[in-house]
Symmetry: C2
């Protein structure tokens, strides 16, 4: 993995830190919320991902000697640098579980730490959570369209540098089953998958010999790439020859892969050719600039596809490229804090907060989350954050607190979860979300409201600021 | 940096490698070309970036013990694993210099190595070059619109995980002057920049005290963020108070930063307020979802802006997210190789190749590059790759070979270049490109053609394949 050290941050965190340090504020506790404002991909939900990575990074997050030397040359004060030499994160973290289905404006992670620590970790926390949540959400959208067919991540070559490493991880949380990325497979225990490129076929004088050699060396995992010269006239006929030769040896050809041309048409004709040859068990894999729209379109055309290999649009989250997650101060030095804005939607919610999810009688999500003060016990109504006319009674509804304490005084207190467990959790939670929120086009808007107490608190503070 | 080891690859490279190994092809030399097919951002050129990173990675690229153990569990053969244990890149690399202005279809990097080595390095080579070239190109587009004003990269928090590290590097190649990313600053010797976030202002009971404390601790580098409460009624008046206090102490306020609202309007009014207070030297920095379109728009409105802080769209290359660079086999086992396709544009160019840039009499780019066989000396005409009616005489024109040998037998033979040198080179080369190719909308199309000999060679091989 990347060696995340103290300088993996924005310079202003360190500049502000020096002010706090010299003004003796370094033990003053701050509360920050991580949340995002807009769902990516015009979708109806997001899949929260990246938490285990954050905890992993926090475990060893220190300023290296090289970091300190660099900062010295940048002109930071020597006493402050001494402080940074001993830096480690000693705060508390509350978070929704990784894999949770989440929505805009609600706090997903809450950090309570001294102000310098909380600031310095902001950058990598945003960097990791924004990206992995984006990719897990993209993957989940593809998973819904693939309707149970296998999805494999092929993206590393088009990924944004080593971002691809975490993209492969996040893809699994969203529902991908395997990756071509050997390194991600090694570190995150993801099944790895990969057979041949066009160059392999090209390196032979003829396609048939290339297929034969591959099948000989990899008899248990041969997916033959059939479009190097001509899919239907050469690739499939040669794959059938090799498939029959394997049968004669008591082996089975795993599949064929289509990587160009009209995938729906080629899959249909290839399927028929394979079936007519008695190779019904040979799977059809497709790749080539796929995204959730193309996967949907292939199913709309009833293309007989078993495996989708998805690259660029998965690992870069194209066309959105970034989740707009932010990290906002909500409480400091014993007082609630607010950021004003000319647009009311960008006014932040003050105070230490909790989020409750409201369930229906069958135990499914009812389509509403409510943000409250952290110590509220009676939450009888939920209010639209800005529209005073919109509110909902919550009397008698089942509510589940979303933010759990996962780190205390810099020590993890929430047990480690494997990628598989996280992925399973994400699937279970997505099951509880009604179909109208998972709709491909124009999904229903999941409501996120605030408690009456929080609304009153916010409005009181807003009022005070206007008076000044 | 990320620890790039042997498993930072696609699994199919290793699967194909095993076939080559068992078929005793491991010493057979292959030539691969790196090129891309489409310019990003509807622009007229791309800025090649990532080469030094590739060379840095290649220096130590090995399979670690952990890699080998993982591959053993994946079922790879023991003799092949022994081979991988000793793996190092021992081939030759030819490349255009980093920072060069490049165009679609022309080979930018040519790899000559034994087939297994050439395949295994493919994935990280694409992963690094595609991304850095994308970002350097995006940065260059912004640089052209910023018309000499300072551009600062603010993107790490919205970058695609550790991809942000290399994004900051590539941004400098494209023309950015500084970064907020402390780590990139440390490792790539980029000026780092950063003063304060909204949270800093919010952590104080009043904005004025926050500004005063900051200016006291950082008297040489104070850019005050003025939009936390109200830019014109509170932020700018308080910045003026602090600016005048600094003057009284013989110091100078560096600048103010606008991060929300109508930036053109706020910059204009803020400038006037600052000027009226005698603070003409205080710079105006702006940020908030900027891209080259917004930068252009701000100049169209004559907004008095000195510094642009650009985040998401820079470091993710939004809206394109990926350059479509590929790596194609052109020569193997003493023979030229081709990949056919139903679309003629996707048919690859066989043989070991060179690229020549044609210059005009003033030493500027004439708007044409020609791809030739590597050993051609007489290149009298340049042909459109597919349209037989289109060709250009090159008699008497100055031609410069683009691909230079930079690595021989796995050893670097091209001297290391600093990021600053690369950035300067990119600017010099961009100067030689005529304005119509740099136009913001609908730029002129730079011609990339092929020599007559290469065309004839390709057509001969195409013909042979059709006969089969």
């Amino acid at each position: 993995m990347f060696d995340f050290t103290g300088t993996y941050t924005d310079q202003y965190q360190l500049a502000m830190g020096q002010v706090y340090f010299q003004k003796k504020q370094q033990d003053n506790k701050a509360t920050f919320d991580y949340f995002f404002r807009k769902l990516p991909f015009e979708g109806g939900y997001a899949v929260f991902a990246g938490l285990e990575t954050i905890l992993e990074v926090l475990k060893d997050f220190r300023f290296s000697e090289k970091d300190i030397d660099f900062l010295k040359n940048q002109g930071f004060g020597l006493d402050y640098l001494e402080y940074l030499k001993d830096f480690r994160f000693t705060g508390d973290i509350y978070s929704v579980p990784e894999g949770e289905i989440v929505f805009p404006t609600e706090p997903i992670v809450r950090i309570e730490a001294n102000i310098i620590e909380a600031q310095i970790i902001e950058t990598f926390l945003l960097n990791i959570l924004n990206f992995q949540t984006l990719i897990a959400t993209k993957a989940s959208r593809m998973m819904l369209q693939a309707k149970g067919r296998k999805l494999i991540d092929f993206g590393l070559r088009r990924a944004q540098g080593p971002g691809g490493y975490y993209a492969s991880r996040a893809a699994v949380i969203g529902g991908f089953e395997a990756t071509s990325n050997t390194r991600a497979g090694r570190d995150f225990d993801i099944p790895v998958s990969g057979t041949m490129a066009h160059s392999f076929i090209q390196s032979y004088d003829d396609e048939l010999t290339a297929f034969r050699d591959f099948a000989e060396i990899h008899p248990h995992n041969s997916v033959l790439l059939v479009d190097t010269y001509n899919t239907l006239k050469s690739g499939i006929p040669n794959a059938i020859i090799v498939g029959k030769e394997m049968e004669a040896r008591g082996q089975k050809l795993t599949g064929i892969r289509l990587d160009s041309g009209d995938l729906a048409y080629l899959a249909r004709v290839s399927r028929k050719m394979l079936d007519d040859a008695g190779l019904e068990y040979v799977k059809i894999a497709v790749s080539n600039q796929l995204d959730e729209h193309l996967i949907k379109s292939l199913f709309d055309q009833e293309a007989p596809i078993d495996i989708f290999g998805v690259g660029t649009s998965l690992v870069t989250g194209n066309p959105d490229a970034a989740l707009d997650g932010v990290y906002k101060l909500a409480f400091f030095d014993g007082k609630p804090r607010i950021k004003l804005s000319e647009t009311i939607q960008k006014v932040t919610l003050p105070h230490k907060k909790q989020v409750y999810r409201i369930f229906d009688e069958e135990g499914n999500f009812s389509g509403a989350d409510v943000i409250t003060l952290v110590d509220e016990t009676e939450i009888s109504t939920m209010h639209h954050p800005f529209d005073p006319l919109k509110f909902l009674s919550l009397e008698g509804r089942t509510k589940e607190p979303m933010l759990k304490k996962i780190m205390e005084n810099g020590k993890r207190i929430f047990e480690e979860r494997s990628l598989e467990e996280i992925s399973t959790y994400a699937k279970e939670r997505l099951q509880k979300l009604a179909p109208e929120y998972k709709r491909f086009f124009n999904p229903h808007i999941y409501k996120v409201g605030i408690s009456e107490t929080l609304r009153n608190e916010r409005d009181k503070i807003l009022q005070e600021h206007k008076m000044n």
